[in-house]
């Protein structure tokens, strides 16, 4: 059972789908580096022992009634965190690629900067890089696409290591991209004039399971996200024009 306490209450959410090989270690590592912060594993209808192992490692689990996909799964966590009154939420992936040792830094920046969102980035100073060629090209491409939209360079737009404050939580619990959420979420925030910063983080290579984005899916991913980005841009521009009238 998790409970928000104090004006700086932090919840760590971990979306997971068939991550039995990594989830226990991820939860234990979070407890080790951020003692006292509750961990909520959002299980996207895993067919393996993810739920049992997450609970055994000391996490609360929010099991989905059927497979929703990453965005739906993360949004469920945001919704619950918002309802429970948490001020900050940091998302860490369940595959063990994110280093829990970086969570305190993301949290500190979230509190000190006043930004609505802080991204744990592999590509700003101090971060190390473990990514395949296709993904690296995709990241470069989306950097170029996002730059004129968000007004600055997003070094690691596909990072799933993200911290948000309550204002962003409010927005995301009502509206969150469902399929490949990271990049579109940036546009959603920017259109509301929210700010974000990047913090250098370490990234470990995946040791168990498979990435949901394979090389074959990459082209579909690029087309899908690109369309989502432009739909979001147009949607908010239209709303703004309507308000201006």
């Amino acid at each position: 059972m998790i409970r928000a306490s104090g004006p700086e209450s932090l919840l760590i959410i971990v979306p997971a789908w068939n991550e039995e090989g990594a989830i226990g270690g991820v939860v234990r590592s979070i407890h080790e580096h951020v003692p006292g912060a509750p961990v909520l594993v959002i299980d996207d209808y895993s067919t393996d022992s993810t739920v049992r192992l997450a609970r055994a490692a000391g996490a609360a689990v929010l099991p989905m009634p059927h497979h929703l996909g990453l965005g739906g799964c993360v949004q469920a966590g945001y919704k619950l965190a918002y309802e429970l009154g948490f001020q900050y939420v940091i998302r860490v992936d369940g595959d063990g690629q994110h280093d829990a040792g970086d969570i305190p830094r993301v949290f500190e920046r979230l509190k000190s900067s006043g930004c609505e969102m802080v991204i744990g980035s592999r590509f700003v100073n101090g971060g190390n890089v473990h990514t395949d060629v296709v993904r690296a090209w995709g990241i470069r491409f989306f950097r170029a696409v996002l730059r004129p939209i968000v007004g600055k360079t997003v070094h690691d737009p596909t990072s799933g290591f993200v911290g948000v404050n309550r204002a962003a939580l409010d927005v995301f619990s009502r509206s969150f991209p469902l399929d490949y959420p990271e990049i579109e979420a940036l546009v959603v925030l920017q259109r509301r004039r929210f700010r974000f910063e990047e913090v250098a983080c370490k990234m470990h290579p995946r040791t168990t399971g498979r990435s949901s984005i394979t090389a074959v899916k990459s082209l579909y991913y690029i087309a899908h996200v690109l369309l989502g980005v432009f739909v979001n841009v147009l949607k908010y521009d239209r709303r703004r024009r309507r308000k201006g009238k």
């Binding site: 059972m1 609360a60 929010l62 099991p63 989905m64 009634p65 059927h66 929703l68 739906g72 949004q75 469920a76 919704k79 619950l80 309802e83 469902l178």
Partner: protein
């Protein structure tokens, strides 16, 4: 040309019968059957109205009457597919929102049970 129109007539009648049967057996909801019935009836009427097809062919400068039939049939079904895509998208959004709500309520119920114990 006449044999093509006859085939379309038969297919339209078959489609109407299939849709009605499916509605009767509750395999398809009435509101979704309306689109199919409208499309099938339009194709049926069109296939029995050769002068109309010839007029449309001449009016729009289409080189061949069978092409007109395929263009009209294609347009009708494209509109239907688009409509169903809109419906499916709404259903998917609703489904995800419901699943999230169920999961969150389940979580609250379990928490209350744990508190009570």
């Amino acid at each position: 040309m006449q044999s093509l129109l006859n085939v379309i007539t038969v297919l339209s009648i078959f489609l109407i019968a299939l849709v009605l049967l499916s509605v009767r057996r509750a395999h398809i909801r009435v509101e979704y059957s309306v689109s199919w019935l409208l499309a099938a009836t339009s194709m049926l009427l069109l296939s029995r109205a050769r002068p109309v097809l010839d007029y449309v062919t001449r009016r729009f400068g289409i080189p061949d009457t069978p092409l007109t039939v395929f263009l009209i049939a294609g347009s009708v079904f494209l509109i239907m597919f688009f409509r169903f895509s809109v419906i499916i998208s709404h259903l998917r959004d609703d489904n995800i929102a419901l699943a999230q709500r169920v999961a969150i309520l389940e979580y609250h119920v379990q928490s209350m049970k744990a508190e009570g114990e």
